[in-house]
């Protein structure tokens, strides 16, 4: 197992390198540069030249790329053009923990909602309970976060006025870099974005749990377990559940991607100062270093997520061996 992890991590290096290279080329290929304008006016030519030399933008592209990679290896993500008082490292240190908090809470919500729903539906197969749970799950899957976010805001923040409309309830610095101070303010701000991100995932998990459990419940070893006279609860919880969760685990990788997708939208809707919103906001600007670095982080996250899925796969199903 250990060797498998090492091998996968080594294989990830060229992938990450190519992703960074592609993004770097793509951002630099865009017409225009970061210093073309001051507000609405064009930047005077001589100032633009000086600024570009200051950030090394006048050098050939391959030199810029290698110095960027060299700096990356030393943990330096590069400067910001529009906010010279901050570096990309600062921006990431502020926004990354927020995104992680949002994503983690959403996944927790998704699992705590989705798995029980799926189990209840499967145990009451082809009854009214099953149909309504399945129906709810389809609806949950069909509401895009672009729609769910504004609707939640409208109902719970505007009309009922129970929860705050926007922003995240905790600011950096965080304990250990990621853990927020748990206050009432944190929770009230977190509820709406977390649910708007987690509902779709919960629906997907519920569907997979139901399908997996139905599949397992009709298998021979469950019949054996029942024939032995085990209580139904033991049969379900100890014998059936673990195997039925295997398909759920497989979706964790795509789910990580979904969290990213959702985070772009959800963070924008709720004006949360996370990585996704930062990325979206930098679209129109030519923040070469910020954009490349954020894509790099997303790439690393995705690879780690997929690796985690494979590891959990082996843990859930001991027949799977990677060596």
């Amino acid at each position: 197992m250990f060797r498998f992890i090492i091998r996968r991590l080594l294989m990830a290096i060229p992938v990450i390198f190519l992703v960074v290279l592609a993004t770097f080329v793509l951002v630099h290929a865009m017409p225009g540069g970061p210093f073309d304008a001051v507000g609405m006016r064009a930047m005077p030519e001589h100032i633009r030249v000086v600024l570009e030399r200051r950030y090394g933008l006048d050098k050939p592209l391959y030199q810029q790329f290698f110095s960027y990679v060299w700096n990356l290896l030393q943990g330096d993500f590069g400067p910001m053009f529009r906010q010279p008082s901050q570096t990309v490292n600062d921006i990431i240190a502020q926004t990354f923990p927020v995104s992680i908090q949002l994503g983690t809470l959403s996944v927790i919500v998704a699992f705590t909602l989705g798995i029980p729903f799926g189990i209840i539906a499967a145990l009451n197969h082809n009854t009214a309970i099953d149909y309504s749970a399945t129906f709810l799950a389809v609806i949950g899957r069909s509401i895009p976060s672009v729609v769910l976010g504004p609707i939640l805001i409208y109902v719970f923040a505007v009309e009922l006025d129970w929860l705050p409309i926007a922003f995240w309830g905790a600011d950096p610095p965080f304990a250990l870099g990621v853990f927020p101070k748990i206050t009432k303010q944190f929770w009230t701000h977190a509820i709406l974005p977390v649910f708007s991100l987690g509902t779709g995932m919960a629906a997907g998990i519920a569907r997979l749990t139901r399908a997996g459990l139905l599949e397992v419940l009709s298998s021979d070893y469950i019949r054996t377990a029942r024939a032995k006279g085990l209580r139904e609860r033991v049969v379900i919880v100890i014998h059936a559940l673990k195997n039925s969760l295997i398909p759920v685990v497989t979706t964790l990788g795509p789910m990580l991607a979904a969290i990213m997708t959702g985070a772009f939208i959800t963070e924008t809707i709720f004006a949360i100062n996370g990585m996704g919103r930062r990325f979206v906001n930098s679209i129109g600007q030519r923040e070469y270093f910020l954009q490349t670095s954020l894509v790099l982080i997303y790439g690393v996250l995705l690879i780690m997520g997929n690796l985690l899925v494979d590891i959990m796969y082996a843990w859930f199903d001991p027949r799977i061996r990677y060596d």
Binding site: T23, A29, N126, V280, Y298, L302, I303
Partner: protein, 349 residues
């Protein structure tokens, strides 16, 4: 050719002896028809498609027609308008449905554009994305996967390594960067060469082409994996061996034996991916990277409306409801199709 003739002969012989059988396809459709919710989804989609086609008839106004005197009107509230204006701009003026020109059926947006007209035309964007993205991804994925699976060996290995690589890259940020790149080039007004022709095509489609390219470019990889898996499963089956034994070439085997078997499941998988494409278009439009204004897209409409959600919730709720209903219909239909075509599940109910 000879293989075809021989197969036809055998087929005719069996049919004359045992009567015409029902194909698995017919069985599946029979099954699907029994699924009320799935059929309802399919009917709804057909209705939306028809509505998108006859959009000019269904809409009182041009979707881009601004009327700043009457902006942010509530739905079904009558408003004052000069006869000249109505005569000039309203399609329904003077018809029995004249009320369409003194009332905004679904209200009007911040620029005084008729929201109903924009909703109806917005269906065109979502449907176009659903159809084009799924057919592009199916086509590329099918070809790529079939070649990889059929060729096997080194070619297969290499082709699948490429897919693995594409799988590991963060798609959404890359799609966003690509769209930004296209848009930046378009704004520069590049008119020469290959990019120039693409940009003018994009302009003609209201900015849709870039969305297609961005969505289609990276979504075929899942389909390629599925297609390869299916081809691998069928490649060693007896009927392929039989076809080879009577002298059929690779092309014949692929087109006549493998693809007909493979395409069914792939269509189902693709139909279940459609909501994802619709979401993606809405998301891109929401952050301002989708279609070009004034082409209406539901995602872009939500973006325009949500800043004023306190006073004008209808500007968000209507496009949101439209988006949700359409994806709901696609999900119901996809689930129904999967249940009908998945022979393992059939008869278990």
């Amino acid at each position: 050719m000879t293989a075809d003739k021989k197969l036809d002969e055998i087929k005719n012989e069996t049919e004359s002896q045992y009567g015409k059988g029902r194909s698995p396809m017919q069985d599946a459709f029979r099954e699907f028809r029994r699924n009320i919710i799935g059929v309802a989804g399919a009917i709804f989609i057909v209705l939306v498609v028809v509505g998108a086609f006859i959009a000019p008839v269904l809409t009182p106004y041009d979707f881009a027609q601004q009327n700043l005197l009457n902006n942010r009107q509530k739905p079904m509230e009558s408003y004052v308008i000069t006869t000249d204006y109505a005569e000039e701009h309203c399609h329904w003026y003077g018809t029995p449905m004249e009320w369409g020109c003194t009332v905004y059926i679904a209200g009007s947006d911040a620029l005084g554009r008729d929201l109903w007209s924009r909703l109806v035309y917005g269906a065109r964007v979502s449907l176009a994305v659903a159809i084009s993205a799924s057919s592009v991804s199916l086509l590329i994925g099918l070809i790529y996967g079939t070649i990889a699976g059929f060729a096997g060996g080194r070619t297969d290995n290499l082709m699948m390594r490429i897919v693995d690589f594409l799988y590991a890259i963060p798609r959404l940020p890359i799609i966003i960067m690509m769209t930004v790149y296209f848009k930046a080039l378009a704004r520069r007004g590049v008119t020469t060469g290959f990019m120039g022709s693409i940009i003018s095509l994009n302009k003609a489609s209201g900015g849709l082409l870039f969305v297609f390219i961005a969505i289609g470019a990276l979504n075929w990889i899942g389909m390629a994996r599925q297609a390869r898996g299916q081809v691998l499963a069928y490649k060693e089956k007896e009927f392929v061996e039989a076809a080879r034994a009577i002298g059929a070439g690779s092309g014949h085997i692929i087109t006549k034996h493998l693809i007909p078997n493979v395409i069914g499941p792939l269509l189902i998988i693709e139909s279940m991916a459609i909501p994802g494409y619709i979401f993606l278009e809405a998301a891109l439009s929401f952050i301002g990277l989708g279609v070009d204004p004034p082409t209406p897209s539901w995602g872009a409409m939500i973006n325009e409306g949500y800043a004023g959600i306190r006073s004008n919730p209808h500007l968000v709720l209507f496009p949101g409801a439209a988006l949700t209903l359409l994806t709901l219909a696609f999900n119901f239909m996809g689930d129904g199709l999967r249940d009908a075509f998945d022979t393992r599940l059939r008869g278990r109910k």
